[in-house]
Symmetry: C2
Subunit: 352 residues, 2 copies
């Protein structure tokens, strides 16, 4: 069987880490005897500057038949976010019903947490983020523009379908983990309609999972608990915005966003899922060859898992941790490895 | 001159810390020769259970002529947040145009940060939170209730007046501090209407303050930076929701919400301002006499500052830090002091 993978390196350091991800996948495919076929798509801010759009009109159509998409990052100085992100990243997440954004947080071997006394035993949880609706909506607008009376409204939309399916998925994930603990992020004391609804559906869905220990925290104190009690968490489910926040804060206590991976998952596999390092295009360090490729490798591991090549994925992360555990780190983690030299080391460690 | 102070102990540990705040104020008034008159209001969840509302119909009217309100906390198990908070706390903030919520974060002497190697020199910033509009709106509702098609919408409303005045206040605060650095919390890459508007107004208002160094971060990565680079921040301004999150996360790196104070400020002084520990009613520890009164004392210091009694406020915080610096801490900080014994020590340290 040949796995058909779409590559979208995108912008900035996306173009530096995706080629290393491909190199890694090729090494793994030789070692674990599976076949991959890559098709690269140039959709990016560069593409936008040449064509006036982030991807061609049939862009999504072209991506639809792939099993997985490996995306680097989207965004460049001088191109507005509502163009780059709302023209590429968010349409993929939505059109392909990638309604779960999975973001594991774990302290890898050789990486020290900025939190006093915290080790790998304390930091090992999974953020499950709603990925298609909620606070990221394009309903809204402006009244009395340009005057003193000016006001802007923004609608958040939470649907039964959208809320239920992500909470149910989080329940399934929690049920499959030893701790069987699920935490819901909310803010129903301040956000009056959508968040109480989220709580209501959380209660309804979790009632089907009596084996789970469930709790909820308001997002304000939850961010504090991530820092003060990271060991309290196992699976944490949140809305699009709250999941976004928690999945940048989580990595901050575990090596930073240079290591943070993600899966944009279409659970039913009607459409491709997308695998993506969380770090973004990082224009400040782009072009220097110093980006940390761990977030990409970890995303590749999630992709291999998804494709059914669990062994290859496990071998990859074991190799990454042999290298980091040996003290070889990129600049963001205080080391001197480059994107390329780090990758070489991991490839070298694959067979060990 | 007699300062007229309204006291609302409220619920839970609010009733334990406010009396100590009063005791402290009385000690300070003797030492610094000013006069206070306290009027206590029983508005609380208890009041609700007896009267069916959190405060009488003319409750706000009764509070209006005080110079300051000292509030403990509102909220109790069994009373819905939309009753307790939307029936008392939020109406006070809104009716009295307390549009700035000021929340300083500073590592006090004797308190250790959970962040490796961080000292008082690294953690000293001020969160300026919009306090009357934004994401906390009561516009919204539910469609197709109880069916599979059910959906809930929630409106955020940002007005020119509301956004400009809080950003301008933050600029003034930043201008008065040595670092002259102002950071804006945004999420304009995901939240399409209100957040780009916030950015636009941030640019417009800060243009009047060329002496400031200004930057902005999306809320996701900003929470990560609070943990990884707390020393980057001086004054941070955010919307109602983002300011709320940052002002719980900030204290998490500086001793927790047991020490976090706040001022709900009506800048123009047409209405009373309200001073409030951030911690909430904490039903889990209420009644045990172990609540940390530092958040209340620090809020009292902000109140004294506001009233023009800066010397008394400075003496109070100096005494607090002499006590914490001597290793006397409440349970939340790993010590054995009770609310009362800690207060006694601070009163004892006032004269030193
Ligand atoms: C209780 C709640 C509504 C409140 C808020 O979010 O404003 C609290 O968290 C705070 O920060 O003062
Ligand atoms: C770029 C941005 C729109 C995106 C998001 O908030 O979803 C990013 O922060 C992420 O977390 O994938």
């Amino acid at each position: 069987m040949v796995y058909e993978i779409a590559l979208i390196p995108g912008d900035g350091i996306g173009r530096e880490v995706i080629p290393e991800g491909v190199r890694m996948l090729e090494a793994l495919s030789r070692e674990f005897c599976f076949d991959l076929s890559f098709t690269e798509f140039p959709y990016s801010c560069d593409y936008f500057l040449r064509h006036g759009e982030m991807m061609p009109e049939d862009g999504l159509e072209r991506l639809r038949l792939f099993q997985a998409i490996l995306l680097g990052a989207v965004g460049a100085p001088g191109v507005a976010d509502h163009v780059s992100l709302w023209g590429l990243l968010l349409p993929i997440r939505r059109q392909f019903e990638q309604y779960v954004n999975l973001r594991p947080v774990r302290l890898l071997s050789g990486i020290t947490s900025p939190l006093v006394g915290r080790t790998a035993a304390d930091i090992n949880f999974l953020v499950v983020r709603e990925n298609t609706e909620g606070e990221y909506s394009d309903i809204g607008g402006r009244l009395f523009a340009g005057t003193e009376r000016e006001l802007v409204v923004q609608e958040s939309v939470f649907t039964r379908k959208g809320v239920d399916r992500v909470i149910r998925f989080a329940c399934e994930m929690a049920s499959s983990r030893p701790a069987r603990h699920l935490t819901s992020a909310t803010k129903s004391n301040g956000i009056r309609f959508t968040m109480p609804y989220w709580d209501e559906r959380f209660r309804a869905i979790t009632a089907d999972y009596p084996e789970l220990r469930c709790d909820q925290f308001h997002i304000d104190i939850l961010t504090a608990h991530f820092v003060q009690h990271p060991d309290w968490f196992d699976v944490v489910v949140g809305s699009n915005l709250f999941g976004d926040i928690l999945s940048d804060l989580g990595p901050a206590i575990a090596g930073g966003i240079g290591v943070a991976p993600s899966t944009n998952l279409n659970v039913e596999r009607q459409f491709p899922s997308m695998f993506e390092p969380v770090h973004g295009s990082a224009p400040d360090i782009a072009g220097q060859g110093v980006a940390n490729p761990i977030a990409t490798f970890w995303s590749v591991q999630m992709m291999l898992d998804f494709l059914g090549e669990q062994k290859a994925g496990a071998a990859l992360m074991a190799a990454v941790e042999r290298v980091t555990g040996g003290g070889y780190l990129t600049r963001d983690l205080g080391g001197r490895e480059t994107t390329r030299s780090f990758t070489d080391r991991v490839i070298g460690a694959l067979g060990e």
